[in-house]
Structure formats: C-alpha cells, structure tokens
C-alpha cells in the first residue's frame, strides 16, 4: 500500500464496468426513487395501496434493524411499538379530531419514551433473555388494549375506525395516491435520518457496542445510555410506521397487532439483511407479498409454501438481500480487477 501511494498510480477505486461502486449505488438509488415516484400514476389503486403498506413495513423493519442489526439487541416485541404508534394516531384522529400529519410526531415521541423506558430495565438482559422479555411485551399489549381501564380510548376489541385522509390543497390525487406519496415523503426522511445516524459518531458507538461491548465501554462509550437510546429510537421508527399503517388501513384493533406481526417484522429484518438500511425495503416487500404468493400456490398448504420460500431465501442469501447484493458487487469488482 505504501509503495502504491508513493507511486504515480492513484489508490485503486472499486469499479464495475469502469464505473466506481459509489456511482453505481447512486444510480441504483436514483432509479429506485424515480420508479417509486412514477408508481402512483401508472398502477391500479389497489397495488398502490399494497406498496404503501410494504413501505410502511419497511420503516418498521428499519426501526428493528437499528436495534438488532446495528446495536446487537434482539427484539421479538416490535409489534407492541407498532401498535402503540397506531393507537396514538387513531385516538388522536378519532377522539380529538387532530390532523393526521400531527399524529406522526406524536407517535414518534410516545414510542420513543416508551421504548427508552422499556430499554432501561431490559439492559440487564442479553441475547435470548432480551428476546424473551420483548416477546412478553408483544403478547401483553393486545390484551392491555382491550382492558376496561383504557377501553374508553381504545374502543376495546371493536377497535377504532378512522377516516381516510384526502389529498390536501385540492391536488388532483385520490386518497390512495396521496397516502402513497405522503408515506414516501415520510419514508425518505426516516431513511435519510437513519442513514446519517449509523454513519455518525453515534452510529459507530452503536456498532462498537454490538461488536465488542467491553472494548466499547473501555473507549469511553456509555453503553447503558446508548443501548437505552437505541431502544427508544428503534421504537420511534416502528411507532411512526404504526401510525402510518393506522392511517392507511383506516382501522385499528388489538387483533391487528398480534405476535405474528412481531415475527413478520423479524422475518423482514433477516431476509432484508441485518445491518443494512436499503435491505429493509426488500424486507418490507417480502413481508407483504410473499404470503400472498404462497397462497396462490395452494390454499391448504400456504403456510408450508411460505416456509419453503423462506428456507430457500435463507439458503440462497444467508446474509439477506443486502448481503447478496454486496456479494455480487464484490465479485464483479474482483473480476474487473483480474481482467484489468
């Protein structure tokens, strides 16, 4: 390396077909954004609605990924935060007639506080024990939403029906198109913030805690504080997704947020790739569409088909979709070098 630096040649930039990897990334991102922007104007409302849901799940998975992928803490209870976000939005809209856009920051704050407070005692728990504690949360929340103490607000088992918002400023969009664009805007903000977070000093601290907690604390990182904060931020993301989900579905009920939602988010996390931010998007698509695809094969065996698809995915992409992309691009880079 030293020799090269002193030589005339620049340090080699990873390239595929002559283009640097970063350019490829930016191009892919640009194409992705263009595709997302075009979707509402070329597709049927129903598909727009489905993709909206997939993006909402992707945001929730991103929240889980910050916790698990970057900070190494396991959670099987993120459906609870999703539920809290959803109910915050529904109660504000139905009970207080508050504009839906305001419910997102409110859901974010409520879920951050809730996640942070849950994170404090959970600090004493590691790995599987933490997974179990969060699992308890996922089981408890739907029941608690039904309890008579809060029934006045939550509507008990019947849930709350809310009104689907129309496009503002007289925009010529139907409510599905508008909600899609609204979700995309929120998603972009959330993804940019998430990306900045993991690339910052704080992000490095989170990753250091994941990789080697003792070394991290020796470096002066306040492990306890960072872990709790990560829990809070993770809950915040999932809560915002929950609020968006409530608005898109226009209905919340305890049965919407059972343990199977927590598992779905976890599946999306692993399939998309732990520790990858773009991977969460793939995870969202997987969570929404693969059960439907499985059902098309056979109604009776939908569960088995889903299992087989999941096994294949894990087998073919053991590090998730993001891992596969990374693998392919590094192969291509090596080929390029060998060729050149």
């Amino acid at each position: 390396m030293l020799l090269r630096r002193t030589g005339t040649r620049e340090p080699p930039v990873a390239t595929i077909a002559g283009m640097p990897l970063t350019t490829w990334r930016l191009t892919a991102l640009g194409i992705g954004l263009v595709v997302l922007a075009v979707i509402p104007f070329v597709m049927k409302n129903f598909y727009i609605f489905q993709i909206t849901l997939a993006i909402i799940y992707a945001i929730a998975i991103l929240g889980l990924n910050l916790l698990t992928g970057f900070n190494g803490q396991f959670s099987l209870g993120h459906s609870a935060f999703y539920a809290i976000g959803a109910y915050t939005a529904a109660i504000m809209m139905d009970g207080f007639d508050i504009h839906y856009a305001w419910t997102l920051p409110a859901a974010a704050i409520v879920c951050f506080i809730f996640g942070f407070l849950f994170g404090l005692p959970a600090l004493r728990l590691e790995g599987v024990y933490l997974a179990l504690a969060t699992f308890a949360l996922a089981i408890a929340i739907p029941q608690m939403l039904k309890s008579s103490a809060v029934e006045h607000w939550t509507g008990g088992v019947q849930g709350i029906t809310i009104i689907k918002p129309d496009a503002p400023f007289g925009l010529p969009l139907n409510s599905d198109q508008w909600l899609y664009l609204f979700t995309i805007i929120v998603a972009v903000v959330m993804y940019v913030c998430g990306d900045n977070l993991v690339k910052s000093r704080t992000g490095r601290a989170l990753i250091a805690i994941r990789d080697h907690p003792i070394a991290a604390s020796a470096m002066g990182i306040d492990v306890a504080l960072y872990k709790s904060l990560t829990f809070g931020v993770s809950a915040l993301y999932t809560g915002v997704a929950g609020a968006l989900g409530a608005i898109a579905i226009s209905f919340v009920a305890p049965d919407s947020f059972t343990f199977s939602l927590a598992i779905a988010l976890f599946v999306g996390l692993v399939v998309g790739g732990t520790g990858s931010i773009p991977g969460t998007f793939f995870g969202g698509l997987f969570v929404l569409f693969v059960p439907n695809i499985a059902e098309q094969f056979s109604k009776g065996l939908a569960g088995a088909v889903y299992g087989i698809i999941l096994l294949l995915v894990i087998y073919l992409m053991p590090t998730g979709a993001a891992g596969l992309v990374r693998l392919i691009s590094s192969r291509l880079v090596q080929q390029g070098r060998a060729g050149g």
Binding site: F46, S147, S256, T258
Partner: protein, 407 residues
C-alpha cells in the same frame, strides 16, 4: 331490385334489433357478472389463531362446485374467490381491496370476525359493493339506514337475548335473574337484548349483573356473588372457556339456577364436556341450525342431502362440525339471492334481493326457523328454538321464537 333487396335486409335487421332490444336491456351487469360467470369474493382465516373457522370457507367453495356441476345459477357459473386473512384486520383490508379492485367481484360475502368486518365496513359502503351475510353476530351489521351495503346473517346477540327474555316472562315471570357477561360489545349486546325483551320488568327481575374481563383467570368470584344475590336464573353470556368455568363452579358450590347459556358457547365438545356433563345437565340454550351430530335428524331429507353433498364434494370435511353445516347454509342463502336476481346482476339488485328474502326455509335450519329480510330489516335469521342439555346431547323444546330487534 338491388335497392329493394338491401332495404328489405335493412328492415329485417332493424326489426331484429327492435325484437332483441328489450331482451338485451333486461340483462344488466355490475363488475364481476357476465352472461357466463358470476365472481364472488370472500375472506376467511385459513391460517392463524382462528384457522378452525377456515372450514366454513372450504365448505362454501365445495358448495359452489356442486352448483357449477349442476349447471350454475340461471346458466351462469360461480367463480368463488376466497383469500386468507389470518384473522388480521389489516390483511382483511388488503385482501378485500384485492377482491374489489383487482379481481372485480360482484360482491363480497361472509368475511369472518367482528374486527375484520369493522375494518372494511366503511370501505365497502363508500365503494357501494355489497358486504353480504357477514360471519359475526354483532348487532351493528343490520343498519340499512347508515350502512345500506352491509348485511348480517346469523341471529344477532340482541335477538338471542330477547328470546331468553320471552322464555322467562312466559315460564318464570317471578324469576330473579343474575347475569354473568363478558365486558365488551359482545356481552353488552346480549344484556341489552335481555333488558329490552324484559321491558318494564327488567328493573325488578334482574337482581345482579357481574361483568368479567377476558384477562380474568376465572369467573369463580362472579358466580359466588351471583349465588349470594339470591338469583334463581343465571344468564350466562360467556365465551367457551369461561362458560365451562361458570358451569363447573355453580355445580361445585351447589347452586342450581335455571341456567341460560348463550349460543356462542353451547358446543358439547368444547364447553359442556370440560365443565362436566353431569354439571351441565339441565342447562338451557338456543339453536337455529340442525346439529349435525343430533341423531334426531338422521332421517331428515335436509340432513340426508347435506351428507350426500359432503360425501361427494367435500369428503375431507368434518361432518360432526357445526361449521360445515353453517357454510353449507350460508352458501345456499347466497345461491337463493342470485336466483332471485335473475338477469339483473347489478350490485344494487343484489342488495335489493338480499333484502327481499321471504320465509326461506334452508334445509339445515331448524324447521320453522326461516330467513326473512326487508328494506328496513337486515337481520336474515331472527328465530331460534330453545333447547335443553340432557346430560348427553341437546334436546329441542317449545316453539320457534322470534327476537326481532327491529320491532
């Protein structure tokens, strides 16, 4: 000559149009219907916590196979599209939107579960697509004024409550009633039906009301309180687990009231057996469909047809389950509505015909328990018959009673 011939042809063609005109005009279609096919949509929990109910969807599917094998309805085949919603309301919304917007079905019927139906209630009504014969007993599904596109099917909880009230007023006018109920809309619907049915006498007859939460471990203390209140009638509005507990506890403490058990929990296998058949002896409840396990009906043509259908089109189906009898009956109701529609297969006419059922006797419904609807009455089943548990099975007794909520 040439010209004349042409004119002749033209006039014949014109005549043909005039003749065919009215016939063509009578055929009217909404999305999902055509000369050859009628597309119907449905969601059912084939997976997830409530997947036992998936049997209903499978039975409906089998029934339409039979209908199609026999030539369809008014010459049109039924294309029954049923998706899994796993009893999750967001999934129901997604699947129902797929049915309406992508598959373009004529209407959706029998979505299962109160939360699932609540989730699509507004959507269906704003899209003006019928949400027919929903599989839940809540009373809110019969509200033609505010939700003209939604209709229930099974007897609703309030109707059933009224039937028990009628029974008490007639047979035990001086009864002291103790009510055990689940503290949610389902439980409160039953209590309201009972109170409305008792009318003026409700205040004097009901001596104690004991609610419980689904999160409670047992209902033991409620039963003890009810006994202590001096009640000699127990109106037991509970879901299966709690129903079994209540029957058992009452027996244990030696309380022998007239025990009215709601229809929701009158399964012999999952409630009365766990409670103890001895303890359950003498319990009263209601029925509206024939119990497939009841040997009373062994020579009944309705049950024989049902057995033949099950053998031929759904051999894997459970013939001891009430769900298969239920699915068979609700599919027949839909077939009846479509028959009445004739060639006017618009969504408006589907609702109109669904609201014009007159004394329809389904083969698996109890004799005399008939379907009736009108423009202001969206509760197809309102009649039930009382039954008593003899320690082995239910025995029907007394007349068919009506618990009309509209009246």
């Amino acid at each position: 000559m040439q010209l004349n011939k042409r004119m002749l042809l033209a006039s014949i063609a014109g005549l043909a149009v005039v003749v065919a005109g009215p016939a063509l005009a009578q055929k009217k279609y909404s999305p999902g219907a055509s000369d050859t096919e009628i597309k119907l949509g449905n969601t059912n929990p084939y997976s997830g916590p409530a997947s036992a109910y998936g049997l209903i969807g499978k039975t409906i599917d089998a029934y339409f196979k039979k209908v199609n094998a026999e030539g369809g309805i008014n010459g049109r085949k039924i294309n029954f599209i049923s998706y899994d919603d796993a009893y999750s309301p967001p999934k129901t919304v997604e699947q129902v939107r797929k049915l309406v917007e992508s598959d373009e079905v004529l209407f959706v019927f029998q979505p299962l579960g109160t939360p699932s139906n609540s989730a699509i209630h507004k959507y269906m009504n704003s899209k003006k697509v019928p949400q027919l014969f929903v599989a839940t007993g809540a009373t809110k599904w019969g509200d033609p004024k505010n939700f003209p596109w939604t209709m229930g099917w099974q007897p609703n909880y309030q109707s059933e409550g009224r039937i028990y009230a009628q029974y008490l007023i007639k047979n035990h006018p001086n009864a002291k009633i103790g009510i055990l109920y689940q503290n949610d809309d389902y439980g409160k619907d039953y209590v309201k039906g009972m109170k409305d049915g008792l009318g003026e006498k409700a205040k004097t007859m009901i001596v104690s009301e004991q609610p419980y939460e689904t999160s409670d471990p047992t209902v033991d203390s409620q039963i003890i309180n009810l006994k202590a209140s001096g009640a000699d009638v127990l109106f037991n509005v509970t879901t299966p687990k709690f129903a079994a507990q209540a029957i058992k506890k009452a027996h244990e403490i030696g309380w022998q009231p007239i025990h009215l058990l709601n229809n929701v929990s009158n399964s012999v296998g999952s409630v009365l057996k766990p409670a103890g058949l001895d303890a359950a002896k003498g319990v009263l409840s209601t029925a509206y469909l024939k119990d497939p396990t009841d040997s009373t009906w062994d020579n009944d043509p309705g049950k024989k047809d049902w057995i033949a259908f099950m053998d031929k089109y759904f051999p894997d189906g459970d013939k001891t389950s009430s769900f298969t009898a239920y699915g068979y009956s609700v599919a027949q109701t839909v077939a009846q509505v479509l028959k009445q529609c004739g060639d006017d297969l618009t969504r408006e006419n589907v609702m109109k015909q669904a609201a014009s059922l007159k004394n329809v006797q389904l083969p698996m419904a109890l004799p005399g328990v008939m379907l009736n609807t009108s423009a202001t009455d969206f509760f197809p089943f309102k009649q039930m018959q009382m039954q008593k548990f003899n320690g082995e099975r239910w025995e029907l007794f007394g007349p068919v009673m009506s618990g009309d909520v509209g009246s």
